[in-house]
């Protein structure tokens, strides 16, 4: 099987790709056309890269590539899924400052940006540089995307957080909301095995067996290839599936850059002259796609935890007599504000796919809400929530109804207290 999404589902009615508009977004052309701007901003980009100080996540040439995408696409919203130390946060903020009209919403568990990077960046940029940024310590799975996307009309999405659950949120929750507006999705950590001399060999490594296996075993050298996509992320399985069902081409930045700059060495020479090897490379290791200009109908997956549930049980919480209830967390990172035992008030059939549903409003700092394992120390699941004016719904999968771990509300990574109002609590299945 040579994976070509063009031929998958060939005999099954689907969208008519003949009606697709010609490709509207040319990442290689954007790179070339932004060379002057990148060269002019090279000094500040270099300073920002130093302030973030985590170039193994994103090289300077990748900074320049994504900077050129932002400048070329001209979004009014950049939605960043996964921030880490904040390479992309910084470069997109700088692009937003350059464009003058874009907002950046960044979602990540990590507190590194808030606790370390932002203060270093603040020494380089004007204070207003931060005005466009909403960097939340929050869970990508529980964010309110209707609220985030609001009336924005041109959205650049960076998909740089991994795993099947996040893939499901991107493909099943965010993409359908982007259909009515221009959008462009960048996916990090996908290598094009057609370029750059990527080895065919397994090199004695075992088969890649999924991201969870990789994290568990530390076998980070095992990689998987699906067609031209090479990665260590589950995400490419979900993308290959989505691509096949929707007869949708996944774009390769490596391929596009090679196509333009190998095809016209003069352009490559100009790039090298303007940007040097530091900011110019045809090696990208990221992929992209967009539904903009494509005819529908599209197929989207359902999102676990956001589906309609048939059954619901009130939940009895020891020490909590009524709702709404308020928990106050300490100004100490990770400190527990509450740890409750709980149970559904009616019998729930064994073996059902059950979720604990909370409606909460957070004021102050970021908090975590999670379920402990039976040992009372490890979390089976937890979600980070950033302060918002409106209440949000949090869904926690309940792995084992016969062993219900404590429900915990705690301070997140930054030592900032919070008031957490719990409006509703139910078990649904």
């Amino acid at each position: 099987m040579r994976v070509t999404s063009r031929t998958a589902f060939a005999a099954t009615p689907g969208r008519d790709i003949a009606n697709d508009a010609p490709g509207r977004f040319d990442v290689a052309r954007w790179y070339y056309e932004a060379r002057g701007r990148v060269a002019a901003d090279a000094g500040v980009l270099r300073q920002l890269i130093t302030a973030v100080d985590w170039t193994n996540d994103l090289w300077p040439s990748q900074w320049a590539q994504w900077y050129s995408v932002a400048l070329g696409f001209r979004p009014d919203l950049i939605l960043e899924l996964g921030r880490g130390k904040g390479n992309s946060t910084a470069l997109f903020c700088h692009a937003a400052a350059t464009l003058g009209h874009a907002r950046v919403v960044s979602l990540c568990h990590s507190g590194d940006w808030t606790l370390q990077t932002a203060s270093r960046v603040a020494k380089i940029v004007h204070p207003q540089w931060f005005d466009r940024l909403d960097a939340r310590m929050a869970d990508i799975l529980t964010a309110d995307y209707a609220d985030i996307l609001a009336d924005h009309q041109r959205v650049l999405l960076l998909w740089d957080a991994h795993g099947f659950e996040i893939a499901e949120v991107v493909l099943g929750e965010i993409l359908p909301r982007l259909l009515g507006r221009e959008h462009f999705v960048i996916m990090h950590d996908i290598i094009d095995n057609r370029h750059g001399g990527v080895s065919r060999s397994y090199h004695g490594q075992p088969l890649w067996k999924g991201s969870e296996w990789q994290q568990r075993t530390g076998c980070t050298d095992a990689r998987v290839n699906i067609g031209w996509m090479q990665s260590i992320q589950d995400q490419i399985v979900a993308i290959a599936d989505f691509s096949a069902r929707n007869d949708l081409e996944i774009g390769s930045a490596d391929h596009e850059y090679h196509r333009l700059f190998d095809g016209d060495p003069g352009l490559a020479a100009e790039m090298r002259e303007s940007l040097g090897e530091e900011f110019f490379s045809t090696l990208a290791q990221w992929a992209f796609f967009s539904l903009t200009g494509k005819t529908g109908p599209f197929e989207f997956p359902a999102v676990g935890g956001r589906r309609a549930f048939s059954y619901e049980s009130r939940v009895a919480v020891d020490g909590l007599s009524q709702l709404p209830a308020t928990v106050v967390t300490d100004a100490r990172a990770w400190a527990f504000g509450s740890a409750w035992t709980w149970r559904p008030v009616i019998d729930v059939p064994r073996g059902v796919d059950a979720w604990l549903r909370l409606r909460v409003q957070v004021d102050g700092g970021s908090v975590g809400i999670g379920l402990l394992a039976a040992n009372g120390t490890d979390f089976l699941v937890r979600r980070a929530l950033s302060p918002r004016a409106a209440a949000v719904e949090v869904m926690l999968p309940v792995a084992d109804l016969s062993s219900l771990g404590n429900l915990v509300v705690h301070t997140w990574a930054a030592p900032v207290p919070a008031r957490v109002r719990i409006d509703d609590l139910a078990l649904v299945w």
């Binding site: 099987m1 040579r2 994976v3 999404s5 031929t7 998958a8 589902f9 005999a11 099954t12 009615p13 689907g14 099947f164 659950e165 499901e168 493909l171 099943g172 095995n193 057609r194 370029h195 750059g196 001399g197 990527v198 080895s199 065919r200 397994y202 090199h203 490594q205 075992p206 088969l207 890649w208 067996k209 999924g210 969870e212 296996w213 998987v224 290839n225 699906i226 067609g227 589950d234 399985v237 979900a238 290959a240 599936d241 096949a244 069902r245 929707n246 391929h255 090679h258 196509r259 190998d262 095809g263 197929e299 989207f300 997956p301 359902a302 999102v303 676990g304 589906r307 073996g351 796919d353």
Partner: protein, 427 residues
């Protein structure tokens, strides 16, 4: 400018221009075996009835694999995954027909021996079973060097799933087969170009791997990798292997649909002779073979006990040194031997090690199990039943806290003689 469109297009690899035409034409063999299928329809029908589990394999799939076995005419069939024994029975019938085919069937399940074989025994000559070595064993522990031995034409049915078994097939079995004609059939892979599978997710969540599926019971979620539609992790491993080796994974759905679309008269003959019962152009299976393909090939590394490079003897207080013989009682789960044990040597404590027990079993299925140090539960338990020498592997969680090693009856009330040829620790 180089336009590179194939995976690894700019990386040196095998030269596909040197590949010979396909070694085996699935569509043509279905057609060419129509008379034999027709002649054997009654016995096939009786066998299908005896197995009594048609939702694992439809009658048309029986006929398709029967035609593959008769057409390919292997001298060895390795069956990975047996379940109730649909494929075991059809391959045994093919072996009976051909007269020179051995079937080694590996599976942990016991339905074949306890339920299906007795029902089949009422239908067939006793010698029908002589070609079948149906072992209850862990597929991951089997000795494929011993199984493949000097066989020259091997058909593998890959009908047990998960990444570990994929690694075994692609990294252990295929390299052993690459020097002899072989064909690997893979069940539970539909071709979304032909099999009429819906594009829609159908309101289901993303497929998130076989382990997730087993945990959540979300069986309606399926994954599509190119044309392959499945619920098995295996298709990810196959796509990877295919890309690295520039190797076509063949689709039975496509082969049958296109062959019979190109020869409508043949399709009519098939319908007339076999009826809808035994003729369908949809198979929901795939195949691969390296036979006739130019190398070099890339195979994944092997993990677990197969990667072990050191061994030492194990001393067990209830087992005599060297070959030992134990008799288990005709009582399910009854213990026949419970041994304290220790490695004769000083294996490192910070690496994974395994107890490797090489044994033969005459009689009912037995278990080889490792108890927790307090003796209250099994850490790991493996079933074994074969008169051929076989390995049982038990991972040792902590060499400093060793639970006892138990030889016991398995789930059937059948006694057995267990010949232990070797007991080692490997790491």
């Amino acid at each position: 400018m180089t336009m590179v469109n194939k995976p690894f297009g700019s990386t040196p690899g095998r030269d596909v221009a040197l590949d010979q035409p396909r070694v085996f034409d699935v569509g043509r063999h279905y057609y060419e075996q129509r008379h034999r299928i027709h002649e054997d329809a009654a016995v096939l029908r009786a066998l299908i009835g005896a197995v009594g589990w048609p939702n694992d394999l439809t009658s048309a799939q029986w006929a398709q694999w029967y035609s593959v076995a008769l057409g390919f005419a292997p001298d060895l069939v390795i069956e990975l995954g047996r379940g109730y024994g649909n494929s075991t029975a059809l391959f045994a019938q093919a072996a009976w027909r051909l007269g020179r085919m051995k079937i080694v069937s590996l599976c942990v399940s016991g339905e074949w021996a306890s339920m299906v074989a007795p029902r089949i025994a009422k239908l067939v000559d006793p010698a029908w079973f002589a070609n079948v070595d149906a072992r209850r064993t862990d597929i991951l522990a089997a000795d494929y060097g011993e199984i493949i031995a000097n066989h020259q034409r091997v058909l593998v049915l890959w009908d047990a799933h998960g990444f570990e078994i994929a690694e075994l097939v692609l990294g252990e079995i295929l390299p052993r087969l690459s020097d002899r004609p072989h064909l690997v059939l893979m069940h539970d892979i539909s071709d979304n170009r032909y099999a009429g599978v819906p594009r829609s997710y159908g309101g289901h969540p993303l497929w998130k791997g076989s382990r997730w599926q087993q945990k959540t019971g979300a069986w309606d979620s399926r994954v599509n990798i190119g044309w392959m539609n499945s619920i098995q992790d295996q298709v990810i491993a196959l796509a990877d292997f295919s890309a690295r080796n520039d190797l076509e994974i063949e689709s039975a759905d496509r082969d049958y649909t296109e062959f019979f679309a190109a020869h409508p008269a043949y399709a009519n003959e098939m319908r007339q002779q076999l009826g809808e019962e035994f003729f369908s152009v949809i198979g929901h299976w795939a195949s691969l073979s390296l036979t006739g393909k130019a190398g070099p090939f890339h195979f994944p590394g092997i993990t677990g006990w197969r990667a072990a490079s050191s061994r030492c003897d194990i001393v067990a207080d209830e087992l005599p040194r060297g070959a030992a013989e134990i008799v288990t009682a005709a009582v399910p789960w009854a213990y026949a031997s419970t041994s304290e044990w220790r490695p004769r040597g000083s294996p490192p404590l910070n690496v994974q090690s395994w107890i490797r027990c090489r044994l033969r079993v005459q009689g009912g299925p037995i278990g080889v199990s490792l108890l927790t140090p307090d003796g209250r539960a099994f850490v790991q338990s493996q079933v074994a039943s074969s008169t051929s020498p076989m390995d049982v592997l038990l991972a040792v969680p902590d060499l400093t806290r060793r639970g006892r090693l138990v030889i016991h009856t398995w789930d059937s009330p059948m006694a057995a003689q267990v010949h232990i040829d070797d007991l080692s620790l490997v790491w």
